[in-house]
């Protein structure tokens, strides 16, 4: 869909979980690309398939899940069908992930310094890089993560640091890998607001400085607006709207995206009663045909129950999956 400047191009990604043999599709044919130097926001509510999409690309799915894709093009590599051994060399170097819970990303019996040196060594093994482009000193790295007096951190163990501090260290470790693409899955969800803002600013700062590409997974529309260049909205395993952040958030075309934004806006503008989207996400998950959102949709029409809506172009960059926009 998008041309040469894509770092990652995913076509028709499908991920199915098998619950006691019964298949359940978590991601149903998702296609998108992350361009060089951009932050693509993947937004949606729990169960929309946004995290599973990220895990699928990095092959971090549990055993009872199966992933297939027409193509997952990452730089010059075709990831779909690549043997695991070959993929392992890319993951943790060119392709990296930041998780919601930083504690789980650290070895509890090793110091912060050990983790940093480990991450740096891993990158240097796999690729010769000039000392000028990247720091080899853990202290400098911590300093770049805006950690005050980094000396005291190096000998500390993960449990001695706060969540925000650990997330800073983790971002530092990930950047030390010099990845081409970072998948960040709700990296600030467990943090307090003040710290959250600072972590987001940190990510944005280094992303711009290094020209990184980021797939940023979040449920928070405010974060998406502040951070992302483009946004893809997921619902029930499908991308229902995709476009530049401002277009999607200021002029949403899909009724689901529009409802979410209306709810968020009614909270921001202190309305006496919040706008409610009736029903629950996932209530129509087992439905076989038609629009997945039809049961909750305020603008539902009779064909919505039968026809699968295609992804329609509403402006050159802006797409939506809704029959309202099919001429």
């Amino acid at each position: 869909m998008i041309g040469e400047d894509a770092v990652l191009q995913v076509a028709e990604l499908r991920t199915t979980f098998f619950d006691r043999g019964k298949p359940r599709e978590a991601v149903r044919g998702v296609s998108f690309s992350v361009r060089r130097g951009e932050i693509l926001g993947l937004i949606g509510e729990s169960g929309s398939g946004k995290t599973v999409t990220g895990l699928s690309i990095l092959r971090l799915l549990p055993e009872h899940a199966k992933m297939e894709a027409e193509s997952i093009r990452f730089e010059q590599h075709e990831l779909a069908g690549m043997p695991d051994s070959q993929f392992a060399a890319l993951r943790g170097t060119e392709l990296a992930m930041i998780f919601q819970d930083p504690v789980g990303s650290f070895n509890p019996v090793k110091t912060i310094g050990w983790h940093l040196r480990h991450a740096m060594a891993r990158r240097q093994d796999s690729n010769a890089i000039s000392a000028k482009t990247w720091q080899t000193d853990p202290l400098l790295l911590l300093d770049e993560m805006r950690i005050h007096t980094p000396e005291r951190i190096l000998d500390a163990y993960p449990h001695q640091l706060s969540g925000g501090m650990l997330q800073r260290v983790l971002i530092g470790m990930v950047l030390a890998l010099r990845p081409r693409l970072i998948v960040a899955d709700e990296p600030t969800t467990n943090l307090d607001n003040l710290v959250e803002r600072q972590i987001l600013d940190l990510i944005r700062h280094h992303q711009r400085r290094l020209g990184l590409s980021v797939l940023f997974i979040t449920h928070d529309l405010t974060i998406a607006r502040d951070l992302c260049d483009r946004i893809a909205v997921m619902y029930a395993g499908e991308i229902v709207e995709m476009g530049p952040a401002s277009a999607v958030l200021d002029d949403p075309q899909h009724p689901y995206a529009a409802s979410l934004l209306r709810t968020a806006r009614s909270l921001e503008q202190h309305e006496a009663t919040l706008f409610e989207l009736p029903g629950e996400p996932g209530q129509d998950a087992r439905q076989r045909s038609g629009c997945r959102f039809a049961a909750r949709c305020p603008s539902v029409m009779s064909p919505c129950q039968i026809d699968d809506p295609p992804l329609v172009r509403v402006s050159p960059q802006h797409h939506t999956r809704c029959l309202l926009h099919v001429q």
Partner: protein
């Protein structure tokens, strides 16, 4: 309920300090039918305060006056008749239910325990309560894992309503829910408060949620209430620098303030001497010399509008006029 000089201390596990003061000299009145918000970052003591109000921790000092008795010092026998008046809704609804009980059975426990109804009437009452929170009587036959987080939180609210409480402490009751579900639950809480006049202590870290729901807001920092006022006055005319910092945190592009890092456990016990001077002074951008010597009390123009700061609204210190006045 009238809370006077409530203090709660725990023995400390870290070296250096022998006790941790989780709640530090908190005084607050909770009026009938009001919704009061406790806001602050993690570790500020808001959850601990909520639990202490309900007698889940026993206070080290101070009083909690309710219906003529002091809950802080009362024995189990005199507390018992008041237990049903004081109820709690937790952040994670799934862990508030026995996974082996059907929803209806879980809901029946407190109804039976408090001799509210039994037999045939019990089933009808459970159905009525479920409908009151927007579910159907059929949900009584399901198991907790069959319901979504939003539905379970509704059940948790229904269960509490069944015994006719006078005060409900809701601890981050919407923070784990998705945007669309969060709006539904917030509307529900507001409607219940309006319809039956139950008082709510709403614990949250999300200021926009507090703004929507609460009549009054108490901002907590390190176990103390640092600012108290009507929701409107907190948002339009915040006095304490910490409150102002929290309000600013909702905006993007925060300048990084290394002082915020002092919340990290590495420094928390060391640098914040909590028994002399203002707790907030290490992070404060407008501290004056008095802040190092004395601890500001929660004072203000009226009982309803109080703040613990020597330099409200944050004027920069100008020593000359102070000296002139001293002479």
């Amino acid at each position: 309920m009238r809370v006077e000089n409530l203090t709660l201390e725990f023995p400390s596990r870290s070296r250096g300090a022998s006790i941790v003061r989780a709640i530090d000299d908190v005084s607050i009145d909770i009026a009938e039918g009001e919704i009061i918000g406790l806001v602050g970052e993690s570790g500020s003591g808001k959850t601990t305060l909520g639990k202490t109000l309900l007698g889940m921790y026993s206070a080290s000092a101070g009083h909690i006056w309710y219906e003529g008795i002091d809950l802080a010092t009362a024995d189990a026998r005199s507390l018992k008749p008041h237990r049903r008046d004081l109820q709690m809704v937790f952040q994670d609804p799934l862990s508030s239910f026995n996974p082996r009980f059907r929803i209806g059975d879980s809901m029946a426990v407190p109804l039976r325990l408090h001799h509210i109804c039994r037999g045939k009437a019990l089933e009808a009452e459970v159905g009525r309560l479920l409908e009151r929170v927007g579910l159907s009587a059929d949900h009584a036959r399901r198991f907790p894992h069959e319901l979504s987080g939003g539905q379970l939180q509704r059940v948790a609210i229904a269960r509490v309503l069944g015994i006719g409480p006078k005060l409900i402490v809701a601890d981050e009751a919407v923070s784990k829910l998705d945007v669309s579900i969060r709006a539904q639950i917030l509307n529900l809480l507001k409607a219940i408060n309006r319809d039956i006049g139950v008082s709510l202590v709403f614990i949250t870290h999300d200021l926009s949620v507090a703004r929507f729901l609460c009549n009054r807001i108490a901002v907590m920092y390190f176990g103390r209430i640092v600012e108290l006022g009507s929701t409107e006055s907190i948002f339009s005319d915040a006095m304490h620098p910490y409150t102002r910092r929290l309000l600013e945190a909702r905006r993007a592009n925060q300048p990084h303030d290394p002082a915020d890092d002092v919340t990290g456990p590495v420094t928390a016990s060391g640098s914040v001497d909590r028994f002399a001077g203002c707790n907030y002074r290490d992070r404060c951008s407008v501290r004056i010399s008095r802040c190092d010597r004395e601890r500001p009390g929660l004072e203000g123009p009226s009982n309803e509008r109080r703040f613990a700061c020597f330099n409200p609204r944050g004027h920069q210190e100008d020593p000359a006029p102070a000296l002139a006045m001293a002479r």
